[in-house]
């Protein structure tokens, strides 16, 4: 089953084309590493997938529907550049708010579960503002997973995380993938990303430069795809 599909996607900012005729399809259970230099259009593409922005032309389908449909969004989890939690709310209140927004059936139980899972149960009543950097990041991860998403969109997830949060996130992503969920992540940390990835997608100046399975030679040499399909090639 195709979990992610894009067809002829263009995105203009004014008359600047940030994405040009981007198209691809991935089966459910894929883990797609989205690669490209700064300004290649990675974030633009991820925002369209997450329903934060709309393609100027063409369209994307996630789990069989447009991401602006509420039913589709309720199955997507995102981690963006910002952590997306409220400083003036406690860990518990943050998770409860998002559980309710996502229509999680047993919200209180889900909150308990994810506070345990991210090791924040001890400080559940603490304000997010008072948390250390690592704790805030773990709270963001709990926020993204609270509704058991079947599709995960992560924009540079490993860049700002500390080691503990990276280990947590990698574990969660592996579990989700084993469970048949689909993951798209953009990253500069090629090594971490390629270990997880089943597929690779390379953007170059808004155009699709390469898409295909992640091969053994990419693992051995993380720069391989840039060397063969990047700008220099």
């Amino acid at each position: 089953m195709t979990a992610l599909q894009a067809q002829g996607v263009w995105k203009y900012y004014g008359d600047f084309a940030a994405l040009q005729q981007v198209g691809f399809a991935f089966a459910a259970g894929s883990c797609v590493a989205l690669l490209g230099r700064n300004g290649a259009g990675k974030t633009t593409l991820l925002r369209i997938l997450a329903g934060l922005s709309q393609a100027s032309e063409g369209g994307v389908e996630i789990l069989g529907g447009n991401p602006r449909q509420a039913a589709v969004r309720s199955r997507i989890g995102i981690i963006g550049h910002g952590i997306g939690v409220y400083d003036e709310l406690s860990a518990e209140e943050n998770l409860l708010t998002f559980a309710r927004l996502y229509g999680v059936s047993d919200a209180a139980q889900a909150v308990d579960h994810w506070l345990e899972r991210t090791d924040l149960a001890r400080v559940r009543r603490g304000m997010a503002r008072e948390f250390s950097r690592g704790m805030r990041q773990r709270l963001a991860i709990a926020r993204a997973f609270i509704h058991r998403p079947r599709f995960l969109i992560l924009d540079e997830p490993f860049t700002s995380l500390d080691d503990r949060a990276i280990a947590l996130l990698q574990g969660l992503l592996r579990d989700a993938l084993a469970d048949g969920a689909t993951v798209v992540l953009s990253t500069h940390q090629l090594k971490e990303a390629l270990e997880l990835a089943s597929h690779v997608l390379l953007l170059n100046r808004g155009k699709l430069a390469f898409t295909g399975e992640r091969t053994a030679e990419m693992l051995a040499n993380p720069g391989w795809v840039y060397q063969h399909y990047g700008e220099a090639a």
Partner: protein, 229 residues
């Protein structure tokens, strides 16, 4: 070709105004009650109607922009709004001059005057919003939404103000030469000048759209230059 048509229409509008001025100043007699100053009315009511057309056009174009995301609608919306503001300003100023002459005051907080001023401020807000947003797509989208809100708000303002006691001469035209009827020559002149103003409006909007297109072309070249460098 387009430029030639605009130029031709502009020349025609100018000649038309000269012709109208000649009739207004030299041929039409003074009005029975107001004397000579009633002539300003020919430059008071027509720009008002032209401005209403502009704002209506801008609201429709804004709706179309939100539906289609076609650039051209945004270009039209901003051009029409700017021209509309200029016409509304002519309407306000000529009205004030007339009021000073007839009522002895420049301004009165009468319903129609107040509504006209509020309208002006609302659409000024539209231009200020545009100034404040850098990303062209976001600017087009947000100002389109504002334009639709503005049109509803203006309509509502006029409705609400109608219930206030009003000092303004009613919508009935009061241009007479003596008897109780509207003088046909004066009424005809009103339509002549309305036509002239509408033509002028079309020319101005077309010129402004051309300007906006060039401005965007320049902006886009500049962005591209930055992208290369």
């Amino acid at each position: 070709m387009r430029d030639k048509i605009i130029f031709g229409a502009g020349i025609f509008a100018a000649l038309y105004f000269i012709r109208n001025l000649y009739v207004i100043l030299l041929q039409l007699p003074d009005e029975a009650m107001q004397g000579a100053v009633y002539r300003i009315f020919f430059f008071h009511l027509p720009p008002y109607f032209a401005a209403v057309f502009c704002f209506l056009g801008a609201a429709i174009a804004s709706g179309m922009y939100l539906k289609t995301k076609r650039w051209h609608y945004d270009v039209f919306a901003v051009s029409a709004t700017e021209v509309g503001l200029a016409l509304a300003a002519i309407n306000l100023v000529t009205g004030m001059i007339w009021g000073r002459q007839q009522w002895g005051i420049w301004w009165t907080w009468d319903a129609r005057l107040t509504s006209a001023l509020i309208t002006w401020l609302i659409y000024l807000g539209y231009l200020m919003l545009r100034e404040g947003i850098k990303d062209p797509s976001e600017r087009a989208k947000n100002s389109a939404v504002l334009s639709i809100f503005a049109f509803f708000a203006v309509y509502f303002t006029y409705k609400a103000n109608e219930w206030y006691r009003t000092q303004h001469p009613g919508p009935v035209l009061t241009i007479r030469t003596g008897k109780n009827t509207i003088d046909p020559a004066m009424q005809a002149m009103l339509f002549h000048n309305l036509f002239a103003f509408l033509l002028l409006t079309v020319v101005l909007v077309a010129v402004r759209m051309r300007l906006e297109d060039s401005q965007r072309a320049v902006e886009s070249l500049r962005r591209r230059a930055h992208a290369v460098a």
